[in-house]
Amino acid sequence: MSLSKEQVQHIATLARLHLEEEQFDDVVAKLSSIVDFVDQLQKAPTDDVVPMAHPLNQAQRLRPDVVTETDERDAIQANAPSVSDGFYLVPKVIE
């Protein structure tokens, strides 16, 4: 296994994913096989190669800094699991 259970738990925490205890062995095994598979990349000689972030090598387009959005709060919050008076409700953050 190229990844340990502790590493996988750390990755899951970074990714904000809760994993059930009984899922762990399967996740560790499959993630390890994926990491081993992508390790093939290490054999490619890339010393002077420029990393490619965009398939057409385009720069990000800029637009004039003007307000273009209208207030759609009600339409957008119609999809929220819990709202009140236009606010999103979450478990208490500050004691």
Binding site: A12, A15, V27, T46, P91
Partner: protein, 491 residues
């Protein structure tokens, strides 16, 4: 009389457009005929997540009324189905995931807006691998889609519902998205035509994001001509997509007559290595011979880094997905876990319950390759190899006009055959991923059968050469009738 139009489901968009224009049948009759096909056959396929019957009939009536007043546009009254990754105002957009099970978008994707404005009538939204992450349509929260040619087999993925529905004649056309082959591979496995345009050619606005430097919208149809009709409407600059390209949109339908005579077709040596099923390879070679007989020149080319395209993709795509899918937090929209003890627990449990196993694997792979200490070794390295792969294509296109070869290494496999091993599943996309990494347009066109399952020929062109690959595919379809074969149970 509706009874006389019993064959409407077998007609192409181009044929249906003529029938509507000639008054042979109305948009309502056409819509009713296809809705009744969906009603009759979808239980055996599971190709649809939503069927929008009332909406479709109302739009069809609008279309008939407009036509009677002489108001006609490019796709007036013609049916379309959308992969459930395209946001549709007022209709569920689930992306095949529990986390979006109840999500209703407040707006239309640009693709939907443009097709609707041209008169297309939405019949429904199609099933797909969860968040487009899969090659077999088995990762959908709404259950797998079946292949109409053999319902024990997968239809390919991730646009498997779109491909199965078009192959089974439930709709002549569907949209799809292609991040690593998700239009072309299911098209090959279902005997349909699948077109992935150049990166940036079609707007990504309103398409649920998976991997933003690879995602591109396209179509699944039965003919290259129909794909050209739809692309003409869908393509073009959109200021709401920051990577949309401002590049003129040619007349794709008008260009279909270009003869393959003198066309330089690149045959990739590495495509016919051990990984390719021998019979699939034979079908592809027969197709290439048919084009050669029409005057095309077959020229051998190399893509020396082909074997690195799948590992490169499985660093770049998960990295981008881990970032894109961080928006699902159980707070603003989507599934929320019950009884969370604090905010962190709410995030972790909502995401843990809302995402399926494959999506979690990809998010975690992406999180790992971007994490401190591993970024250079994996993500930066993959971006460099991506440059090498892109350069390989540029070198090949210095001597050829298009590259042709297999779309997928095997015909459709059985449901469940590859679900236990992510790597064998990932290798299904070995021939399609390169076009995504390099941003190139590609099309899969039916080129025969192996054991009564369809095989696809893939054509890949340089950036913005959709016209060339569409014309080549169209000319090939004039020589063959593979695309007119209908699966036995869906005649």
């Amino acid at each position: 009389m509706a009874g006389q139009q019993h064959d409407l489901h077998t007609q192409t968009l181009a044929e249906l457009a003529k029938g509507l224009s000639d008054g042979t049948f109305s948009a309502r009759e056409l819509t009713e005929a296809l809705l009744s096909r969906i009603d009759e056959h979808d239980a055996s396929l599971n190709a649809f997540i939503s069927v929008t019957a009332d909406w479709a009939l109302a739009r069809a009536d609008d279309s008939d009324a407009a036509r009677s007043k002489g108001k006609v546009s490019a796709l007036s009254g013609l049916p379309i189905i959308y992969k459930d990754i395209f946001c549709t105002s007022g209709v569920l957009t689930t992306c095949g995931s529990r986390i979006l099970e109840n999500f209703v978008s407040p707006y239309d994707a640009t693709v939907v807006e443009r097709l609707s404005a041209a008169g297309a009538v939405m019949l429904g939204k199609t099933n797909m691998d969860e968040f487009a992450m899969g090659s077999s349509n088995e990762t959908s929260y709404f259950g797998p889609v079946k292949n109409p040619w053999n319902t024990e087999c997968i239809p390919g993925g991730s646009s498997g519902g779109s491909a199965a529905a078009v192959a089974a004649r439930l709709s002549p056309a569907a949209t799809g998205t292609d991040t690593g082959g998700s239009i072309r591979q299911p098209a090959a496995l279902t005997g349909t035509v699948g077109l992935k345009p150049t990166y940036g050619r079609v707007s990504r606005y309103g398409m649920v994001a998976f991997a933003s430097s690879l995602d591109q919208a396209g179509v699944i149809t039965r003919t290259a001509e129909d794909a050209a009709m739809l692309l003409s409407v869908m393509a073009g600059f959109d200021e709401r997509d920051s990577t949309s390209v401002d590049h003129p949109v040619p007349d794709y339908v008008g260009g279909l007559g270009a003869s393959p005579k003198g066309l330089k077709i690149g045959i990739v040596r590495q495509h016919f290595d051990a990984g390719l099923d021998a019979q699939c390879g034979a079908r592809v070679k027969e197709a290439l011979s048919a084009l050669e007989q029409q005057g095309a020149k077959l020229i051998e080319v190399d893509l020396p880094n082909l074997d690195l395209s799948v590992p490169t993709y499985y660093v770049v795509a998960p990295a981008e997905c881990s970032s894109n899918l961080s928006r699902f937090d159980g707070v603003r929209f989507g599934h929320r876990a019950e009884g969370a003890k604090d905010l962190l627990d709410l995030y972790c449990r909502s995401r843990g319950e809302g995402f399926g196993a494959e999506v979690k694997r990809r998010i975690m792979t992406g999180t790992y390759v971007l994490s401190a200490g591993y970024y250079d070794a994996y993500y930066l390295k993959a971006q460099k190899v991506r440059q090498l792969i892109s350069q390989d294509f540029k070198n090949a296109f210095a001597s050829v006009d298009v590259i042709a070869g297999p779309t997928a290494p095997t015909p459709a496999f059985k449901l469940g055959d590859k679900t236990d091993d992510p790597i064998t599943m990932y290798l299904n996309d070995i021939y399609t991923i390169g076009a995504n990494l390099a941003g190139l347009p590609g099309i899969s066109v039916p080129c025969g059968f192996v054991d009564e399952l369809p095989v696809g020929l893939q054509l890949v062109g340089p950036h913005f050469a959709e016209g060339a690959i569409l014309a080549c595919a169209h000319q090939y379809q004039q020589l063959t009738d593979w695309h007119q074969r209908v699966p036995e149970a869906y005649q």
